[in-house]
Structure formats: C-alpha cells, structure tokens
C-alpha cells in the first residue's frame, strides 16, 4: 500500500524520538498554525470536514468554534480507550505520540486553552510513561510550555490516569473523573464546551481526532478533505481483531469496505460467521457486512454505527451463546451504576446470558432479554445503557435460532444424563 503523507502511519516509529520526528516534518503543522489567527486554525479544521474519531462523529471544527470566550479554557485529550476491540489510540500513543501532542497544542491554540489534559486509561501504564517522556522532550524543544517557539502562546499538558472504567470514555463522565469525582456521566446540556472542567469551557477530543490535526494544518484542509468518503473524509485508523490472520491497526481512507479491510488484515481464518462493527454497542452482522463501507454516513444509513472503527471478526466455530454471554457480562461489569435501568438491567441480562451459555438457560429468557433491552433503551440515563439493545437484538435477530437451539440441546443433554 502506497502511503500518502496525509496519514498517521507515515509518521510511525518504533520508539518516539523528537529529533527523528522533526526530521520527517514533525511540528510543521504547529509552526504554520502559530502564524495564523486562532479563527483561521478553526476555519482550516472546519474546511477539512474532520469528524470526531471517538465514535460520535461530531464535526471537530464546529465543536471548536462553539467554545465561548473565557479566562480559562481547557482542552482534554480523551485517551481512555476502553472500547473492546479498539486499540488505535494505543497505536498512536506508542508509535506517533508527538503527532498527538502537536495536535493538542494546535487545538489549544485554536480554542484559546492554555492547559491541556491527557486522560489515559488505567490499563495503559507503560503508555503513560512514554507520553511523560514525550511531553518532556517537547518542552525541552520549546514546543510545549511557556511561550512556545518564543511566541505569545503558552500551553502545557498534564497526564491523568483513569481508574479502569469504561463509562469514563464518555466525555461528561471523563470530566467528572478528571475533577476527582466518581465517573458518572451528566445530562447534556450543558455541553462541556459551555461548562466543563470546574465549570469552564472544555473541549474534549479523541486521541485520533487530535492526531490528524497537524496533518490538516501541514498539508492543508483540501488535501485532507479529498481523501475518502465526502461526508466524513480523511484517513482513518481501523482496529481489526478476532478470527483474522493479521489482527492490528490499519489506516485506510474513510469509506473503505469491510472486505478490503479484512483482506489487508490477512483474511478471515476459516469461514466468516459474524462481524461486529463500531464496538461492543454496535450491531452484529453476518457475511452481508463484507460489502459495507466504513464511514459515518454509510454506517448510519445501514442502521449501524462506525463508532471507534473497531471490526471484530468471528468465524463459524464461534458459539453465539458464548458471544452473548461475553457481551452482556461486559455491560454488567462496566455499567457505572448510576441509573436504575442500566444497573439492574445489565445485571439481569448478564445473569440470563450466563445461564444460557453455561447450559442452564430457559427459552423464556430470550424474549425477556429483548424486552429488558427495550426498557433500558427507553429509560437509561446515558447512551451506554440505551445501546445495550443494539448488539443484543442484532445477535438474536440473526443468530437467535442458534441460541435457542443451544438452549434446547443443553436441556436434552441434562435430561439424558
């Protein structure tokens, strides 16, 4: 694959080294940005049509433009990468961390922040150390800290470590946690851009989003917008895992087909049975998924979500009752416990799924699980609880017969024994 310069992977290195980064064109984006007005930087990002890569796909430039004037504005890099099957941010922080830090600095300049935080998930301790070294190296080169590149702009970054909660990947819950509170999400509005950390305007962007920013500045918005799907252009990092020969992170233009992506990942091991796209809360598809295009608009049109760009592949040896169990247990363990429907609903779903998978399921569980998922969709406080029904229903829609058959088979085995 020929690598465009407008790509994260073209900056990848085994271990981060600022001299090497500067040698391959690093910090050109920041230098360019600092010669522009703040509004110009936001304008450039708006014209690039970059959309948030955390999963929601909100236009990044629009988010930045919505930040009101304030004495103190914060920029937060959401590196709480907790979505199962997603490891693109980890790739960035291990292989192109300077690009991310440069992106944060540009974002800080654009939105008028002087303080940035990187909220790194608790399970990434080594990465937190790496990033600490990266920040120090950037400070030494006057690319971070007071009067960056001897100009008027000062910006520094502090690392915060998460405590291992999935829900804290949600921006409002993340801000609660950053302020030292329990990681409960809050109801928007107010949006963090209006009232975030300590009630100040706060921009929260995903690692990948920020990492593409220097490329937009360095190569121009048009170069970025020309790549991939017109509605959500640019290159994109996809995490491919499960039954493929070469699982890993792959960078493709937005809108790449699942088929092409799986080919790049070395092809499916055995016969393809199911694909889950966008994370644990995304739907499961059968082999019809192969023709799907992986960009926000196409996926939404197909009734799914691009989410974080995770593609989990399951082959014909996969027991879907087991998938149901793992999936429901994940939701039960990761529910923040704040609202009733999610706290109790995930517990019951996980219980029933576990009973099914362990051979003591009952037929009435399946409709009851669907109904529970629907009640959670209607009444849960945040998208976490609301979305449990998506993988649940899609699994039961497409593989319900298999799960039912499994329950019957286990009943039969018990009777015979």
């Amino acid at each position: 694959m020929k690598r465009s310069r407008v790509s994260i992977s073209s900056y990848a290195m085994e271990s981060p080294d600022i001299e090497a980064y500067l040698g391959i064109g690093g910090y050109q984006g920041l230098k360019k940005a600092l010669h522009m007005k703040k509004d110009g930087v936001i304008q450039e990002v708006q014209e690039s049509k970059l959309r948030g890569r955390g999963g929601a796909g909100f236009p990044t430039g629009k988010k930045w433009a919505g930040v009101p004037q304030d004495e103190e504005i914060y920029l937060v890099c959401n590196a709480d990468e907790g979505e199962p099957g997603t490891f693109k941010d980890r790739y960035i922080m291990e292989h192109t961390p300077f690009l991310m830090v440069e992106g944060m600095t540009i974002a800080g300049y654009g939105v008028g922040a002087s303080k940035g935080y990187i909220y790194i998930r608790g399970e990434y301790p080594a990465i937190a150390e790496t990033i600490q070294g990266v920040l120090e190296a950037a400070r030494k080169q006057n690319l971070l800290g007071k009067n960056i590149l001897d100009g008027d702009f000062s910006f520094d970054i502090e690392i915060k470590r998460g405590g291992g909660s999935y829900v804290v990947g949600d921006e409002t819950a993340l801000l609660s946690s950053l302020m030292g509170k329990r990681g409960f999400p809050w109801m928007k509005p107010p949006y963090p851009t209006e009232k975030g950390l300590w009630d100040r305007p706060t921009v929260v962007n995903n690692v990948e989003t920020l990492t593409y920013v220097p490329l937009i500045l360095a190569h121009g918005a048009a170069a970025f917008a020309d790549i991939g799907a017109p509605g959500s252009p640019g290159p994109k990092l996809y995490s491919v895992s499960g039954n493929v020969n070469s699982p890993g992170v792959y960078e493709f233009p937005m809108g790449v087909s699942v088929k092409e992506l799986l080919k790049a990942a070395g092809g499916v091991q055995g016969q393809l049975k199911a694909v889950q796209i966008g994370g644990t809360a995304g739907p499961l598809y059968d082999d019809t998924a192969l023709s799907m295009q992986l960009d926000y608009d196409s996926m939404n049109a197909a009734g799914g979500t691009l989410g974080s760009g995770a593609v989990v592949v399951m082959n014909s040896k996969t027991n879907m009752a087991g998938v149901l169990d793992v999936s429901m247990r994940f939701f039960a363990e990761e529910s923040c416990g704040q609202c009733f429907p999610c706290r109790y609903g995930t517990r019951q779903l996980s219980y029933m799924a576990r009973r099914i998978a362990s051979g003591s399921g009952e037929q009435h569980y399946l409709p009851l699980m669907r109904e529970t998922g629907e009640v959670m969709r209607a009444t849960s406080f945040c998208p976490f609880g609301q979305s449990v029904c998506t993988p649940l229903n899609s699994l039961l829609d497409q593989f319900g017969d298999e799960v039912e058959g499994f329950i019957r088979q286990q009943d039969y085995i018990r009777e015979v024994i």
Partner: protein, 578 residues
C-alpha cells in the same frame, strides 16, 4: 408563563418549571422513586418517564424543563409497561422481607409496587448477601435493601457536607458506603440521620433500642426516668394520623406512664436550664471580651461535625452539655438523692427526634455522676412503635401532667426544637439579666423560619450583639469557613451563633416520623411557636423549677457543681484517622 397540556389537562407554569412540577400543579402525580422535593433532582430511577409529543423517546419529568406548547402523556400503555418492568428489575434485586422491614408501610418502593400491581416477577430474584453495618451508634446501614437512588449521598455530600457516604463499587455491585475497608462507626458520619429520613426504603435506619427499653421497664429492680425533647411533642402525633405540628405532650406523658415508665420529666426543663448556663457563659464572655463567637452545643450532630472539620473553633463552642445530657446527669444525682434511689438502679431514658443523640449518650465523657447520664435514647419513631405494641390508642389519650422536680418549662424551652429557638430563648434571658429591664416584645422574628442563614444585630446595654443562626450542616460549613477566615484576620464577625445539624432544627431530626420533609418541619416548628405564644411564662430565667434547682442543689449558674455535672469538653477528630 408557559402553557402546556399534560394528559389533556391544560396547565400554566413559570419558565424553569420541570414537567414533574407542572404535573403536580395540574393535579397529576407522576410516579418517582429517586426524586425528593427537598433535594436536587437526581434523575436516576427512570420512573418519571413521560412521553412528549414530537420529542424522540421518553423524557425524565424530574429533570426536563417544561416548554410552551408541550403535549405530554404520563401513563400510556407503553409507559405503564416500561415502568412495571423497571419496578420488576428493582424488586428482583430487593429482599422479599417487607413484613420484617422497619419501613414496612412507609416504603416508597413497596407503595409503587402496589400501585403498579406487581403480582409476580418475570426475573429470577437474587440477594446480595452483604453484611449489615451496625457499627455507628445512631444509624444502621443495610445495603441489601439499597436501591441506589442516591438521595442519601446527595444529602450527606451536599445538604450536610458531612461527606460520610458516597457510591462505591461498580455497575450492579454499586453500594452506598463510607469507603473501602471502613464502616459507619469509624468514619466521619455524625449520625444526623438525614440519610435515614430521605431513604425511600429500609436501607438506612436508626439503631433500635426498643427491646432494651422494654427490658428496663419490665425489670422491677430498676427505676426508669424519662425525658422528652421539645421537637417530639409536635411530631409524634403524625405516627397516629394526626397533623404535623399538633401538640401532644400531655398524651406522651400519659403514654410513657402506661408503658410502665416510673418517672416522666421533660427535656424542655433542661432546655431552660441550658439557657441559664449558656446565657451565663455568654455574659461572662461579654465581660471578658471573648472569645467570640460563642457557638451553641445542643446538637450532637453539629458537635461531631465541628470536632472533625472545625477543630480551630473548638474553644468557641459552649462548654454546656446538651439539654438531654444535663437532665440525664441530674436524674442520676439530684433526682436520685431527692428520691433516695441508688443511681445504679435508675435507668435514664430519653425520647429524642434525633439519631445523633444515641451517639451523644454513648460518648465516654458523658458520665459526670459516675454513671451514664443517659442510658437509652429512643427516637420519635421508636416510641411510636412501643406505644403501638402496648395497644395504646394514643390519639384517644386525655393526657396527664408530668412528674414534678424537673419537668416545668417555659415557652423559651419549647422553641429549642426549631431552628433559631435556642438563640431566641437565650436573647430573652440575656437581655433581661444584663439590662434588668423587661423585654417588650419577646418574639425575635429575625431568627425564625427556614432561611439558610439568619443574622441580626441586637442592641444590648449600649453594645451591639451580632448573632447568626444556621441549620443544616452545609450552611454551618459555609458560615464557619467565613468565621474562621475573619478570626484569622483579627475580626469578630459574630458574638453568638446557633447551629443545628438538621434543616429546620430538631423538628427535622433524623429520628422524626417519615415523612420528614421541609413541609413537615415547618408545620412542626409552627406548633412549637404556637405553644410558646400561649404560655404564661416564656423566659427561661422565670422557670420556677429551674430556680428551685439552683436554690436547692446547684447553687448558681456556672457554679462548681454546674460545671461538674452540666458542662463538658470537646476534642479534635482527624477526618482521615477517626
């Protein structure tokens, strides 16, 4: 004004009104489980979901603001189905022991289950098997029953700012906890019991002592002497379908006698006595020029809070014991001597609106007679249970007089039960003792009512006395933080401060009947002020039995015996290593 329709009923409300409040105005009750009118809406339970025409999905009525032109439906078939399912989910995780539960009949979950006709559960039930935490002197925490609504956390963290409990654990395992590896008894909990009165179920309740009290009453060797706090007399009636604020003190005297209590005194007496002691202390400080401010010490929840969070102000707290402990000490001494009963044969019982009083009674220093000042503390709710157990038709009682010696009281003593009451009582006495003149108007309106912080400047012999009254510990925290700063910079912001741990004062204590909302607290306070207004004697220094006590026993306010029996000291509690 906004116009909207709820269930085809038109209603007009102010901008900023929630759908739930608009529905209330329209006379429509939307079911809730986590919501309480006195605290910030939490939006956790999902029971108040409504359908708003044109809006996607459903909306939480408690946190969604009404908009003009909204067409809202609260009980569609689909909404009823969803809410039943939600309740089933909660009930499947809740112990099936309503008949043994302390909140049976007063449980909001039970009422909703009944309202929604939940007859069977489609889910398998499970129990959590969590240990019951009865380590605190006043409060028991049973997380098996917790539904995780978050009211107690909101109250403890933000209304009281005690910060003793918060959410702990994750997902379905989330519980309300004083923290990892610790229990309520060893944490910063002040036993105020506000978590108890705002708990919708039986997950938090008072440490019960009814059985112990029965044991004492039934033991012929023992002489049980009881006292009743001011706030109980305007609240106990609610347990017997009477109105909040209805004065039932004579019925309480009679009920206690019918239960087998040997002698019935009244904490109102020692409230008057407190004024004599604390008033004297205040006048001494006025003469000595400080230290100011003097802070009242009647509320044991506040005392522990102060010891924990404001150790710098410990010398500012009045050395007076609370009225409960004063009367307890006198029961074991003066009463014992008067009646020639050995103090070890006397059981001192108090009926309190308060769970922190149980903690106070067990403080090791509260035994100046050589015996525990107070042996047992029953809350208003516990006394009601004893009365019901004895088959006493409380509402039908005619009422009797209490036993002489330490039960006479004035209007000043009775208003101790409401926020501002101690201050008002103290001002009446301090003014007359200091100036030698009779007060024209005994009512100090400035210190009455439910406003967060009440301040006034009172002229006294050519000096201006600055006073402040706060109730609810967050208000105390705000005021004292300012006071601490002012003192550091050499200022004297106030001369005298009254602090009550609970909003509304003792009428809203953690031991009062459920419902214990601000509405009930207000009505109860009104009941106390009405009693005060109607009393022939309204000033503590004119209480004849208090005068007799000084003459026959204590000699003089602030004297040596008073100091030995009626005063105490406080100590710093480190919040991190209690």
């Amino acid at each position: 004004m906004l116009s909207l329709t709820i269930d085809n009923k038109a209603v007009q409300v102010e901008t900023g009104t929630t759908i739930l409040e608009a529905a209330e105005k329209a006379g429509i009750e939307i079911p809730t489980l986590c919501r309480h009118e006195d605290i910030t809406p939490l939006g956790t339970c999902g029971m108040c979901m409504v359908e708003v025409e044109g809006d996607p999905g459903y909306s939480r009525a408690c946190i969604t603001e009404a908009r003009s032109g909204m067409r809202i439906r609260t009980h569609t078939r689909e909404l009823r189905r969803i809410k039943r399912k939600l309740l089933e989910l909660v009930l499947a995780a809740h112990p099936d022991d309503c008949l043994q539960c302390i909140r049976h009949g007063e449980c909001e979950l039970q009422k909703l289950a009944e309202k929604f006709e939940i007859r069977q559960l489609s889910y398998d039930q499970y129990t959590r098997g969590l240990p019951i935490d009865s380590s605190a002197r006043g409060i028991v925490r049973d997380m098996n029953k917790c539904i995780g609504c978050g009211r107690c956390v909101e109250v403890c963290q933000n209304v009281q700012t005690v910060k003793a409990i918060s959410f702990y654990g994750r997902g379905a395992d989330t519980i309300v906890s004083p923290g990892a590896e610790t229990d309520m008894g060893s944490g910063v909990c002040v036993n105020c019991g506000q978590c108890v009165v705002y708990c919708p179920v039986g997950a938090l309740h008072e440490r019960e002592q009814v059985d112990d009290v029965w044991g004492a009453i039934e033991n012929p060797e023992l002489h049980v002497a009881a006292q009743i706090a001011p706030a109980v007399r305007v609240a106990l009636g609610e347990e017997f379908d009477m109105e909040p604020g209805e004065l039932v003190i004579d019925k309480i005297y009679e009920a206690l006698k019918l239960l087998g209590v040997d002698t019935v005194f009244d904490t109102n007496f020692s409230a008057d006595l407190t004024i004599m002691e604390e008033g004297t202390e205040f006048l001494h400080r006025l003469e000595a020029g400080g230290p100011f401010p003097l802070i009242t010490s009647c509320s044991p929840g506040w005392i522990k809070f102060g010891e924990t969070y404001f150790p710098e102000l410990i010398d500012n707290i009045s050395s007076c014991k609370s009225p409960q402990q004063m009367l307890g000490a006198l029961i074991k001494t003066h009463f014992a001597e008067t009646r020639s009963i050995p103090p070890e044969k006397i059981v001192s019982l108090s009926i309190m609106p308060c769970t922190a009083k149980k903690f106070e009674a067990d403080r090791p220093e509260m035994n100046s007679s050589g015996f525990k000042d107070v042996d047992y503390v029953l809350t208003t709710r516990e006394l009601a249970r004893m009365i019901r157990q004895a088959g006493i038709r409380f509402d039908k009682l005619k009422g009797i007089k209490p036993d002489k010696l330490m039960s006479a009281y004035t209007g000043a003593g009775t208003i101790f039960g409401a926020t501002g009451g101690v201050m008002e009582a103290a001002l009446r006495t301090a003014y007359e003792l200091k100036t030698g003149e009779a007060l024209e108007n005994l009512n100090f309106e400035a210190v009455r009512g439910l406003e967060d912080t009440k301040t006034a400047a009172i002229p006294l012999s050519g000096q201006e006395i600055r006073i402040a009254v706060v109730h609810g510990l967050s208000n105390a925290r705000t005021l004292l933080s300012q006071v601490r700063e002012d003192l550091k910079s050499g200022g004297v912001p106030y001369h005298f401060i009254e602090i009550m741990a609970c909003r509304g004062g003792c009428v809203g204590g953690g031991g009062q009947p459920i419902e214990n909302s601000l509405y009930q607290r207000f009505k109860r306070a009104q009941g106390l002020y009405a009693e005060d207004t109607g009393m022939p004697v309204r000033k503590s220094h004119e209480n004849p039995e208090v005068a007799a006590l000084y003459k026959d026993y204590l000699q003089q306010p602030g004297g040596e015996l008073s100091h030995h029996l009626l005063h105490t000291r406080y100590h710093h509690r480190d919040a991190l290593s209690i």
